[in-house]
C-alpha cells in the first residue's frame, strides 16, 4: 500500500520512513505541505498519509483541506502527526478534514495499528464503491447482451436531442429488428437464441463509433443513436450495421445460423423540434417499411425523404 509522509523535520521523516518501509508500505516522503497536497491530489496518488502539523508552504490542516476540496472521487485517509496536543488543536485538526490524529513522538505499535484502521476504512470504501458501480451497471444495462437497457438508451437519446440544438449537429435514430428471430428460438431453443442475441450485440457495438449508443429496446429489437450523423451519411452508416449482422452466419453451439436485420432510421436535424415519442414513431414506421420491402434492408423515415 502506498503511503505519503510529510514532515519538514529530518529525524522524524527518516524515522517514519524506515518504520513504515519495515511494515511493508511503499513510502513517498516529502518535506513540505505543498508537495504533500500535490502528491495526494494526483489520481494515482497515495490514499494513506501521515502529515506533520507545522510545515513550510502549507501546514498539515491546510493540506487536509486542499485534499478534501480537490480529490472527491476516492477517500484519502489522512492522519495528522504532531506534538500539538491540546483539545483545541485536536478539534482543529479533525475539522480540517483529518481522519485521525497522533501525538509525537509516535509509538511504532500504535502508529501501525492506526494505519491498519485507515486501511480497513479504505477497503470498506472500495467495496462500497465497487458494489455501487455494480448496481449502477445492472440498473443501466441489459443483463443478456450487456447493451444499454431500454430506459437508459431512451434517457440518453432525450439528452442528445436537447444537446443537438446547442451543438448544431444532427443525430440519426435507428431501430433494428432481427428477421424471423422467433424461428431461431423455435428451431434451436431459447439458449441458442440468447447466443445469437449476444453475438448480434457484439457486432452492433463493433460497427458504431465510441460516441454512439446501442441499446436493447425489446426482445430482438435494438435502438441505436448515431451522434453527429446527418441524413447524407445516415443510410450508409446503417448499412454498415446491417452488413455487420448479416455478413456472416452466427456461430452457436448448434452450428452456424444465418441472421439478418431490418433497420429503420430517422434523422433529427438541429432545428427539428419533434418530440421523442414522435421521432420513435417515425423510426418505427421506417422499420416497418424495411420489413415490408422484404427484410434485410434499411429504410429512411418519411420526414427525411420529403
Amino acid at each position: 500500500m502506498k503511503i505519503l509522509i510529510a514532515d519538514d523535520e529530518a529525524v522524524s521523516l527518516r524515522m517514519l520512513e524506515k518504520t513504515l518501509e519495515r511494515a511493508g508500505y511503499e513510502v513517498t516522503a516529502v518535506s513540505d505541505g505543498r508537495k504533500a497536497a500535490e502528491e495526494l491530489c494526483r489520481p494515482d496518488g497515495p490514499r494513506l498519509a501521515l502529515l506533520d502539523w507545522v510545515m513550510p508552504q502549507l501546514d498539515g490542516p491546510a493540506v487536509c483541506r486542499t485534499v478534501r476540496r480537490k480529490r472527491s472521487q476516492r477517500h484519502v485517509y489522512l492522519v495528522l502527526l504532531t506534538s500539538k496536543s491540546s483539545k483545541e488543536d485536536i478539534v482543529e485538526g479533525l475539522e480540517s478534514g483529518a481522519d485521525d490524529y497522533l501525538i509525537k513522538p509516535f509509538d511504532p505499535g500504535e502508529l501501525k495499528a492506526r494505519l491498519h484502521t485507515g486501511m480497513r476504512i479504505l477497503e470498506l470504501e472500495d467495496n462500497l464503491v465497487e458494489a455501487r458501480e455494480d448496481m449502477r451497471y445492472k440498473a443501466t444495462h441489459d443483463s443478456l447482451t450487456s447493451l444499454l437497457n431500454r430506459g437508459t438508451i431512451l434517457e440518453l437519446l432525450a439528452g442528445e436531442l436537447n444537446r443537438k440544438q446547442r451543438n448544431k449537429h444532427s443525430i440519426s435514430i435507428v431501430f433494428g429488428d432481427l428477421d424471423h428471430f422467433k424461428l431461431v428460438n423455435d428451431t434451436y431453443g431459447h439458449m441458442v437464441g440468447d447466443e445469437v442475441l449476444r453475438e448480434v450485440a457484439r457486432r452492433m457495438l463493433g460497427s458504431v463509433r465510441s460516441y454512439d449508443f446501442v441499446g436493447r429496446y425489446g426482445g430482438e429489437e435494438f435502438l441505436v443513436v448515431l451522434n453527429n450523423c446527418a441524413v447524407e451519411k445516415a443510410v450508409d452508416r446503417v448499412e454498415e450495421i446491417r452488413k455487420a449482422i448479416g455478413g456472416s452466419p452466427i456461430r452457436t453451439t448448434q452450428g452456424p445460423i444465418p441472421i439478418t436485420m431490418s433497420l429503420g432510421v430517422s434523422v433529427s436535424r438541429p432545428s427539428d423540434t419533434l418530440p421523442l415519442e414522435e421521432i420513435l414513431c417515425e423510426v418505427d414506421g421506417a422499420l416497418y417499411a424495411a420489413k415490408s420491402a422484404g427484410r434485410n434492408c434499411c429504410r429512411l423515415g418519411s420526414a427525411n425523404r420529403a
Binding site: 523535520e9 529525524v11 527518516r14
Partner: protein
C-alpha cells in the same frame, strides 16, 4: 571541563525507548543521530536569532521544531525545556522566554556533547 562534557548519553536520551522505536536498528540509530548533529545546531541558531529579533511567533515555531526533534530521539528533558520556550513564546512573555531559553541552552550543550561522544564511539 564541565560535567556535561563527560555525561553519558543515557543521562539525556531514554535509550531503551529510542531503541524500541527504531526496532533495535543500530544503523538507523546512527543515521538519526547524524541527522540530529546536522540539523539541531541550525534549529538552535534559528531559535536564538528569533529571540534576539524579538519575534515570538518565530521563537514559538523554532522551539516547536526543536521539541519535536528532541522528543523523537527520546531526549525527554531537552524536549520539555524546548516546550517551555514554546509556551513562553505563545504567551508572548519576553521575560519567560529568556528564562526558558537559558534553561534550554544549559541542557542542549550537554545533549550535543553526549551525542558527539556517542557518535565518535566514546561509548557503546
Amino acid at each position: 571541563m564541565t560535567n556535561s562534557e563527560h555525561a553519558s548519553i543515557d543521562q539525556y536520551v531514554d535509550m531503551p525507548e529510542l531503541l524500541a522505536r527504531v526496532d533495535n536498528d543500530s544503523e538507523l540509530l546512527t543515521e538519526l543521530f547524524a541527522l540530529f548533529q546536522d540539523d539541531f545546531p541550525k534549529l538552535r541558531d534559528a531559535l536564538h536569532n528569533a529571540v534576539h529579533a524579538g519575534d515570538p511567533r518565530q521563537v514559538e515555531k523554532a522551539a516547536h521544531a526543536l521539541k519535536g526533534m528532541l522528543a523523537n530521539l527520546s531526549i525527554k528533558h531537552g524536549a520539555a525545556l524546548a516546550a517551555n520556550v514554546e509556551a513562553a513564546a505563545r504567551a508572548g512573555d519576553e521575560r519567560e522566554i529568556q528564562q526558558a531559553l537559558a534553561a534550554f541552552d544549559g541542557e542542549e550543550t550537554g545533549v550535543l556533547a553526549a551525542v558527539d561522544r556517542f557518535m565518535a564511539g566514546g561509548e557503546p
